[in-house]
């Protein structure tokens, strides 16, 4: 099934739905990386500030921030799996 809009733009010839879906999956994987990077970066900066202020609480702060980073990572990985399912064309 051709999508006329893409052909009008003159960028892509013979585009079909799966190609557009794959482009969306690739864009999605990139956006996921941005979001997870911002989130884990903020956790890391706060962790370093916290440890610099209170070095005696370093172990607890580190443990807590690993768990929080894992929670963000979990959301990012769910998005990656979804993009992988789109890219592979898995029918659910």
């Amino acid at each position: 099934m051709n999508i006329p809009v893409m052909n009008v733009l003159g960028l892509v010839q013979d585009t079909n739905v799966m190609d557009v879906a794959k482009m969306g999956a690739a864009l999605g994987a990139g956006i996921v990386a941005i979001g997870a990077g911002i989130g884990i970066g903020r956790i890391g900066s706060a962790q370093n500030e916290g440890i610099a202020r209170q070095p005696e609480a370093a172990a607890e702060i580190r443990g807590g921030s690993i768990i929080l980073a894992a929670l963000i990572e979990g959301v990012a990985l769910i998005a990656v799996i979804v993009t992988l399912l789109i890219a592979l064309g898995v029918k659910v």
Binding site: G63, I66, I67, A70, L71, E73, G74, V75, L77, I78, V80, I81
Partner: protein, 315 residues
């Protein structure tokens, strides 16, 4: 006598790799496909005698086949054959090896904890077990509940840890890189959450306490939201472990495939690119061996936090 236990540990690991390699079919095709197929769980098949079977394409008969009702078709592993079957794969070899490793490593631990005897392997693993109790379980759950649920979390932690670490060895399969294995582990956490909550708070009070104090009109909506939250927690556990273990292997695979991709252009380019690709793959492998330890910790810690949250809801 001193080296009996380390030798037994090595024997279990080497034996699992040998069994896994002997009873899986070898994949033919391009080099990249051959590498990629090592990520997929391979069914255990009978060893083909030379000359007896056809050269290629002969569908080797699986060693162990259990028929499934058609309602469980999603678990069908033998997609080429007729009907739905549960087929033993090389992942099960490494799961069994992880269970055996737990037995071998921890049989001497109680004796060491009682009277301080035992070889250095027992000392090391009793230190690990003490760390899991003192740093992971007791600070979250407290001493009383923590000591009751400690065996479960110790088993989950070391089972995942051994499977992750064995998956890094050459010729081995990573059992935790299959979503069915991690799904089963997450199901254990989920049933502990629900059954434990119903035992501690009472069967009806658990579902009533799922929702914090809200206006009555909001109650049905909040109940649905909390129900979804209850189910999403183990699903996130399942996908996190699976995707972390698969992702590391995929990154190594992509870097190694780069060598053959460039080698296909011209052998000189392939040789020139191989030091860079192998160096990056070694770097990813170092990260992956850290991730293998970290993910076992994360899975267990999050299980502890989720179970504790469903045992004692916030008021």
């Amino acid at each position: 006598m001193k080296f009996l236990r380390p030798i037994a540990i090595l024997a279990v690991i080497v034996g699992a790799i040998a069994v896994g390699m002997r009873f899986t079919a070898h994949h033919e095709g391009g080099i990249f496909q051959t590498l990629y197929m090592h990520l997929m769980p391979a069914p255990l098949v009978e060893v083909a005698q030379h000359g007896e079977h056809g050269e290629h394409g002969a569908h080797a008969e699986p060693l162990l086949k259990i028929p499934l009702p058609s309602a469980l078709a999603a678990f069908d592993m033998d997609r080429k054959g007729h009907g739905h079957f549960l087929v033993a794969t090389n992942l099960q070899v490494f799961q069994l090896a992880a269970v055996l490793l737990i037995f071998v490593c921890f049989l001497g631990v109680p004796r060491h904890l009682r009277n301080g005897g035992g070889d250095w392997t027992s000392r090391m693993f009793s230190g690990f077990a003490g760390w899991v109790r003192d740093e992971m379980v007791v600070p979250v759950m407290g001493k009383e509940v923590g000591n009751k649920l400690l065996p479960l979390f110790l088993t989950v932690f070391f089972f995942i840890l051994f499977m992750n670490v064995m998956g890094l060895l050459p010729g081995a399969a990573t059992a935790t890189a299959s979503i069915f294995v991690t799904g089963a582990l997450a199901l254990i956490t989920f049933s502990t959450m629900v059954v434990g909550g119903m035992v501690v708070q009472g069967p009806i009070a658990f579902w009533k306490h799922l929702v914090p104090h809200v206006p009555l009109a909001l109650w049905p909506l909040m109940f649905a939201v909390e129900l979804v939250g209850l189910i999403v927690k183990p699903i996130a556990l399942m996908i996190r472990l699976f995707a972390n273990m698969t992702g590391g292997h995929l990154a190594v695979l992509s870097l190694m495939g780069l060598v053959f991709f460039f080698g296909g252009m011209s052998p000189t380019v392939g040789w020139a690119s191989s030091p860079v690709a192998v160096g990056l793959a070694v770097f990813i492998m170092i990260i992956e061996s850290f991730v293998a330890l970290l993910q076992a910790y994360i899975f267990t810690t999050l299980s502890i936090i989720f179970v504790q949250a469903s045992l004692h809801p916030e008021h």
